[in-house]
């Protein structure tokens, strides 16, 4: 029974790490600020979620798992708020989204 949890935890951790890297690459390759916010939120939701899930499976049912749940709740509530505030401030500040084709806006 425990080996099943070990395998699942290893898989979740590997998946979380993979999605974090995918989000990081998206942060670099996306042409425009607003698409980069989308890519960065990928690391915060899926990457962090899978890594925390992997740690919870690795730990079993103890107080540490409750702390991991608290971190999950914090990310669940805090990161969308921060991304929303960031994107709204960018829009109010007049940062035009890239609507027509991949023009180089460096």
């Amino acid at each position: 029974m425990t080996t099943l949890f070990e395998i699942l935890s290893a898989l979740c951790l590997a998946g979380g790490g993979f999605f974090c890297i995918v989000g990081g690459i998206g942060l670099l390759r996306m042409p425009d600020f607003y698409t980069r916010v989308h890519a960065a939120s990928l690391t915060e939701t899926l990457g962090a979620g899978l890594i925390l899930l992997g740690l919870m499976l690795h730990e079993g049912f103890t107080l540490v798992t409750v702390k991991l749940l608290m971190i999950g709740l914090l990310i669940f509530f805090a990161s969308p708020t921060a991304s929303h505030a960031l994107t709204r401030a960018a829009l109010l500040r007049g940062l035009k989204p890239l609507l027509d084709g991949p023009a180089e806006n460096k």
Binding site: S9, A10, L13, A14, G16, G17, F18, C20, I21, G23, G24, I25, L27, L28, F33, R36, V37, A40, T43, E44, G47, A48, I51, L52, G54, L55, H58, E59, L63, V64, K67, L68, M70, I71, L74, I75, A78, S79, T81, A82, S83, A85, L86, T87, A89, A90, L92, R93, L95, N105, K106
Partner: protein, 86 residues
Amino acid sequence: MLAAAAIALLVTILLALARAALGPSVFDRLQAANTVGTCAMLILALLGFLGGRPEFLDLAIVYGLLNVIGVIAVLKFFNRGNLGDS
């Protein structure tokens, strides 16, 4: 596997730092700072497990809170020119 996830997070931090250096607008840099903060929080949790010290998770929670407050404070300063103590 914990170490592999930690290394993946370090790579993500490097990519975010590259975006922070390249980012044309200040909001790209803020987004990169936010990503680095989240990844640092996760690495703290992983190190807590690798080092066998469960109190690192409390550090991760506090670090996550400070990271969000920092991003919102910089945003407010950037938009209004002061932090409301005019």
